[in-house]
Each structure stands twice: as structure tokens, then as C-alpha cells.
Symmetry: C2
Subunit: 310 residues, 2 copies
């Protein structure tokens, strides 16, 4: 299994992009917020309900074009447990719409605690006689600072349930180099992470040549993307930083191999707030999102050609 | 402010320990689980209700002895939004009991996303005309792999609201050395993190000589603890790994300075499951936890003497 379900969806839609669902409240169209606040007051519940309606609108509009969503956990946690409830509902809704779900929480811990994170997002928990899946995502992002003790429990869960994970390697932000670019025994820290993904990801190898442990590499570092692509052929990349952060289609093209495989590119803000940029009626927020998502797909597909799986 | 509210509580109770609230379901006494499941069925809500009652019992028993709690977010997330609701209730309950709260979530991200994490746990969110604090913790643990872009937003929130944070440096697990012990320009990665905590933590310096940015250093690495204590006098340490993981009182003693200041030592399992080890009536779980917590306090205080603040 590994990341194969994602790769199959990408190939089917001929679209290697993922919709980042980072619902800042100021992104949510006014009419949606007003309706929720009228009903629930200026409360976390009201804010969370508004986010859910917004997310559903975006998913409805994009599910036939974009293969996956990547909800950013921080924005749901910011709305307390009401937000976390909406995260679960969003995941469920996206699954019903046929989309793959990568939870972006960058979790990290050790031993049984990391097992709990993996179980929470990829697996489930035994409550009395019942086995319950609280979130049921398809993949999650993790941070490898703690070493194998933070990776093993996730790999175990992935193997058992046919799920995948993405380890932070070279993040898209300006200060990512402070630690990630430093060289240890001739290898940059970010490359060590990718090498680890290759070695450990092979434990859950997929049918299309990619292991179950992907790596996060920012679109803002196209040189590193190109080098890593050439060297670590079996590591699938999750590429943030396209659009608003500065990454261009020609930059992210470097993350793909000769079959148009090997990466999925995230865009959050540009798609979610396309209606603001277009200055269209905010009630057309989902239409604007779709137009932006199609533009992004076309720009990237124009660079990489066709996506071929065997 | 910085970490001063914590230091004041530690000195008042003459106890530099923190109760790790990592509520695995198998830790929760049978009679509490049964009651919750009878009422709510084998559901996440039932499990979460059981955890809340267990946590309250522990807090009631320990609040006059132990200055702080450190809930481990993973175990609450594992119970879905019901678990996250119980996390919020637990924090509220501990605050009413006068305890300091460190959320152990090891969060990490960049820019506005890291702002959202900091706002979620240390600050609040503007919903319409209201400013709402979803969790209202006093401090949180963070992971510095992404560089300053992941630290700045937390520092800003800390400054604004008198809160603190702890950055992962040398974690307590066996594989922590894979990255953390590697040397870059003559300095181990974990030491670079502590040096960063010293430099940046000074931006929110406290009255007792410690900055607002503490560091996580495991009890299982006493040599590193001693070296770091000697070299980075203004960095306050959060020390996991005592007890079940193998750290002894003589090990953690190395984290303290000549005034008995500079660190807080976490214990989770040994205290939470003391009733299992004692084989006492499980209805005395809180009493057993208190006995274990007192034993831990006495063992550490016996090593460090008196805790003196000016």
C-alpha cells in the first residue's frame, strides 16, 4: 500500500496537487461567518461551524479535480475542541468525496506517545470492546528530530493499515537552513532525513517504486528539490511553498521524475482566498477556488507532461 | 514574566517536579472506566469522561504538593475531539487548583501557522467581537527543527502574555542521538538548541535569572545535563525520563544550580499508575499517586537541598 492510494488518485485525475485546508477565519467568506455567528454567537463553536461550511464548499468544488486535501491542524486546534471536531468532520467529508487526506500536524514524540499520535490520526483506539478511529487520515506529516524512536511507531501503523507519512526534510521557510542546511559527515541534515525516508520507507514499498515514507521539501528550494529527486528516486515528496510563498511551476517541476511521478504540490492560501484576489462575489468562493486550482494544475502539468503509472 | 510564575510555585512548594498527565486508557482505574462506559457506552466520549475523572482525582490529590502538570497532548488527541475537550477541562481544573500548566505537544511550524499554535495554547483567537482563549496554558513544548520561523511566533505570544516555552534539545529516548548528538561547527545539535534558548530566551528575561525559553533535556543523559547546566546558566530545563525511563534523583540533580533552581523534573507513569505498583485498592489511586509524588519530591530535594529565590 504505502503511498500508492495517493499515487493512483494523482494519476487518475492527472493532477499532482493537494488542497491545503488552512482555514484562517479571515479567509472564510463574510456571509458564511455571519450566518454561523447569528446562530451560535461569537463563539468557538460558531467559528468552527463557519469553517466546516467553507471547507465543504471547497471540497464540493474541487473533489473532481484535486486528488487530496492537507488540513493544517493548527487552525483547527486554534478553535479548541470545536475546531478539532470540524477537523474530523472535514476529513470524513473529503473521504466521502473520494479525496485522499494528509493531516499536516508535524507530530513528533517517542515510544508509546508517538504510537498514540499514529493511532489517533492513522489508526484507532480500543475503547472497551470497540475499536474506534478518531480521525482516520490516510497519511500524516511528522518531524524526525527525535530519531528512530519517533519514526518506528508511525511506520508500524502505516504497515498495518496501508497508510503513509511524510517526514520534514527541507521546509519552505526562509530560516529552514539554520539547522537543515548544516552538514554532518558530508551530508546536510535535510538530506539525512530524505536518506532515512528512503531506507525506512522501503519497509513498506509500493507498486510504483515509492516507499511509504515521503519527505517534505519546499518549492522555495528548487535546487535541493532537483538534487534530491535525482538521488533518492524512491522517496515521494510533499512540496509546500507553491504560490503565495514564492514557488513557481518551473521550480516544483524539479520534484518529478520522467514519468511525472514523485511529488504532490500543496497550495493553500491562493486557492482558499481566490475569491478575494478575483474580487468576485464572495458567494462564488468555491468557483474561484476551482478556477485557481485548475490554473495551478495546468501550470504544473504543462511542465511535467503526462503522469504515467504502470 | 517568562517562566517566573513556574519558578515561584516551585519555590513555594519546595518541589521541582511536574506531574505528567499522559492518560493512557489502561492507566485509568477500572471502576472509573466502568462508570463512564455504563453511562456513555464504549465511545470516545465515554473514554474521555473517564480520563477527566481520573485527571481530576490526581489533581485534587497533588495540587498542594506538586506545582505543575504537563498534559501530553497525544493521549487526548487519541480520543478525538472528546479527548481535546477533556484536555481543555483538565487545564481549567488544574488552574483552579493553583497549578501551572505546560502543554506537551512539541508543536512546530512556520509563520502564521506557528502563530496559530501559539495563539491556540498560550493566547487566544478573535471571533467576531470576542477574544477567546481555547486552552490558556502557561507554557508549551515546541520543536526547533524549522529554525527561527518556528520560534519567533511563540516568543511573541510569550512576551505579550507572560507565558513560557520549552524547546526540544536532548530528548530522553535511546535514539535521540541520531541527530541531536551530531556535531556541527564544533557544537552538538542539542547544544545549539540550548544556546538558541539562551540567546532568544533573554528577550523575555525573568527576575530569577532565567529566560522565557526553556529547553527539554532528558534525565537519561546526566552528563549532558551537567555540562549544559554549567554552561547555560540562564536556561531553565524541563527534564523528562525520570523513573520509568531510568533517570534517577542523582541524575536529575545535575540539572539544578547552587540555589536549587534551573529545572523541573517530569514523572508520568510512575505517579499515575502508583496504585498498580502498590497493588492497593484502585479506589485509592490518588492516594497512591500522592505517596509516589512525595517520594519523588523527597528523593530530588534530598539531592539538591533547599530551593532559594531572592
Amino acid at each position: 500500500m504505502s503511498l500508492d492510494p495517493l499515487i493512483i488518485k494523482i494519476a487518475k485525475l492527472q493532477n499532482p496537487t493537494v488542497l491545503g485546508l488552512d482555514p484562517k477565519l479571515e479567509y472564510v467568506p463574510e456571509f458564511i461567518r455571519r450566518k454561523a455567528y447569528d446562530k451560535h454567537g461569537f463563539t468557538l463553536k460558531g467559528a468552527a461551524k463557519a469553517v466546516l461550511e467553507y471547507n465543504k464548499g471547497l471540497i464540493n468544488a474541487l473533489a473532481d479535480t484535486v486528488p487530496a486535501i492537507k488540513p493544517q491542524s493548527a487552525y483547527y486546534e486554534l478553535l479548541g475542541y470545536h475546531g478539532v471536531k470540524v477537523l474530523a468532520r472535514t476529513i470524513e467529508y473529503a473521504h466521502k468525496a473520494g479525496m485522499y487526506v494528509v493531516l499536516d500536524g508535524k507530530r513528533n514524540d517517542i515510544g508509546t506517545t508517538m504510537e498514540a499520535y499514529a493511532a489517533a490520526y492513522l489508526g484507532g483506539v480500543k475503547v472497551g470492546d470497540e475499536f474506534i478511529q478518531p480521525f482516520g487520515c490516510d497519511a500524516m506529516t511528522i518531524n524526525g528530530y527525535l530519531g528512530a524512536d519517533g519514526i518506528d511507531p508511525v511506520l508500524k501503523e502505516c504497515k498495518q493499515r496501508g497508510k503513509g507519512a511524510f517526514v520534514l526534510a527541507k521546509t519552505s521557510n526562509p530560516s529552514s537552513g539554520e539547522l537543515q542546511d548544516k552538514t554532518i559527515d558530508g551530508l546536510a541534515v535535510y538530506e539525512r532525513m530524505v536518506a532515512m525516508c528512503e531506507a525506512r520507507g522501503a519497509e513498506i514499498g509500493g507498486e510504483f517504486g515509492f516507499g511509504g515514507l515521503g519527505a517534505v521539501v519546499g518549492a522555495t528550494y528548487p535546487e535541493q528539490l532537483a538534487e534530491l529527486r535525482a538521488k533518492y528516486k524512491s522517496v515521494f515528496f510533499l512540496v509546500p511553498g507553491y504560490g503565495a510563498q514564492g514557488g513557481k511551476a518551473s521550480d516544483v517541476a524539479k520534484a518529478f521524475d520522467e514519468n511525472g511521478l514523485g511529488a504532490i504540490v500543496n497550495s493553500s492560501r491562493a486557492i482558499m482566498t481566490a475569491y478575494q484576489k478575483e474580487k468576485c462575489d464572495e458567494r462564488d468562493f468555491a468557483g474561484a477556488a476551482k478556477r485557481e486550482a485548475v490554473k495551478m494544475r495546468d501550470a504544473i502539468m504543462n511542465e511535467i507532461g503526462v503522469i504515467k503509472i504502470k
